[in-house]
């Protein structure tokens, strides 16, 4: 099985195959002999090249959250499979509200060129403001909301073009 994930911005590929009772995994040119020791619900103990690790995994659609040695890593699977939930997901080029709230500011217009990390929209809920920023440089293709509007979680706010 070959799987592709994004971690932060980076695209990573892992090949994994059964090898008798165990597994063989390859990432770039790094090869790991993997042994699954225990697999209670959502927890997993495995050894990779004889080092033992306990990880906790949670899945939300195409997103995987992995807790390992005290760190949490978020991976997004990037193959063509339909997601198991079917909602909450949006294409790469649209930006959605990460929380329900009120749009207090729209900082860009359609056609604007934007930098990676540039603030596009400000949402407010309770006493907190949240800035929605551009995940990559590009051009604003569509602005789908206006100031003062109340939006739901997951609602698309802006469409970006590469």
């Amino acid at each position: 099985m070959e799987l592709q994930f994004r971690i932060d911005a980076e695209l990573k590929t892992i090949k994994i195959e059964r090898e008798g009772e165990n597994y063989r995994a390859q990432i770039d040119d790094r090869v790991y002999a993997v042994r699954l020791e225990a697999d209670p619900a959502g927890e997993m103990i495995f050894s990779a090249n004889d080092d033992r690790h306990t990880v906790f995994i949670a899945v939300d659609g195409s997103k995987y959250f992995v807790a390992i040695d005290g760190d949490v890593i978020e991976l997004t699977i990037s193959d063509e499979r339909p997601s198991r939930r079917g909602n909450h997901h949006h294409r790469d080029d649209s930006l959605s509200a990460s929380m329900p709230g009120q749009v207090t500011k729209v900082l860009v217009n359609e056609g604007d060129a934007v930098e990676r990390g540039q603030a596009l929209v400000v949402l407010e809920a309770m006493k907190m403001e949240i800035k929605i920023t551009a995940p990559h440089a590009g051009r604003v293709a569509k602005v789908l909301i206006r100031q003062g509007q109340v939006v739901d979680r997951g609602q698309t706010l802006i469409e970006l073009a590469e």
Binding site: I16, F56, A58, I68, L75, P100
Partner: protein
Amino acid sequence: MLRKILIANRGEIAVRIIRACQELGIRTAAIYSEADAGSMHVRLADEAIPIGSPAPKDSYLRGDKIIEAARSIGAEAIHPGFGFLSENADFADAVRSAGLIFIGPLGYSMRLMGNKIGARVLMQQSGVPVVPGYEGAVDAEFGEAAGTIGYPVLVKAAFGGGGKGMRIVHHAADLPDAIESAQREAQNAFGDATVFLEKYIEGSRHLEFQVFGDAHGHVIHFFERECSVQRRHQKIIEETPSPLLDDALRDRMGAASVAAAKAVNYQNAGTIEFIVDPQTREFYFLEMNTRLQVEHPITEMITGLDLVKLQIDVASGKELPFKQQDITRRGHAIECRVYAEDPSNGFLPSIGLALKAIFPSAPNVRIETGIESGDEVSIHYDPMIAKVIVLGQDRSDAIRKMDWALKNTIILGVTTNVSFLRAVLAHSIFGRGAETTDFIQKEFSDWHPQVYGTSDLALIAVALHEMVREAGNRMQDASYDPWNVKDGFRIGG
């Protein structure tokens, strides 16, 4: 003993109060907004009463509905927790007018302490030092007063809180504008434009003393809490004892705290907040929080007391069962607040489904939380989802234990500050107990989580997970495949 208490709150503090009541054999009633229908405090209570829509002003701040609910189910007392209505004097009065017990101080005490200018004056009269300042009413005199105090100065709203209506002014030229904008913000936020001046003490520390009064005129304190580790004016790590204090200073501040509480006839649990200048070791009264404090567990850890049980006893009219000299402490306690927020992105709240929430269990590790795996972290309320509290034999033992506890606090699905908290604990300034209120801002403005060499392991874990799931699916599919159920089923159905 009370038979039934309504808890006018939500989240971890509601859960903590429910558990204390369960131990005491007191029945509990929870209230909940539409957003909280399935949440932990609702699941744990004996009864649960829907109180309105998610916005706090329509639910947890609806004192009238809450009192009505308490009466309708025969509760004898209301515990306000912290936040929401806990420092609302009118609510406290209304609860008492309705013939119920309010588990907290008198409305009278809350009002005196709620007005920061009045409180400053009262404290000075009671011999409690306050930050050098000016609380005159005439705008024209502010300039001269600021000159006398010496820059930088702080413009603060009389009825403010949470940093609103507050300005730091470094130069005399900026003062008029700062006063005007602070007044405007205060008017908007608190309905009162009154501001006053205080000297701004750079590199100061934030300490507080837990006080407790009863209805019989007794007030004692339960030592200090060091609360200097803050982000956006909110505490994230508290500890006790404070690395700054020696016994002499502790005694002086304790005596000042008791005097402050006595000045307002304080009853039940309260906290006197101080600013301490670590250079001069001078301390100044800042304000009083007229309620139980988020960080009360660290005081419980070192004193062995249960402050919520004590609140219930004292609210029922009992005398404090001990005197100041009976209160001793042992060990060193730390609390870390786990927030659903992103420390590498301005500490903005991160809301969503806590797909997994696993907390450590070990000797002298205490967890206070209002969520369990699968619970939603909602935008409507405070993003604090848990408190991890440890008691160590000494400070270094406590830090080590806290690091272990945080490493074993697994929250998946929403971004939290857990890794950040561990980084703060590991910082040399924190290590030598030299934290000041600007510590986080100065040392962690560029912080990002470091994931050394674990991304390969995460990939392997997820790939393994997919392999196992796929194998499981194949088996399940097979078992559900009607073609396999019976021979001969295939043709003709």
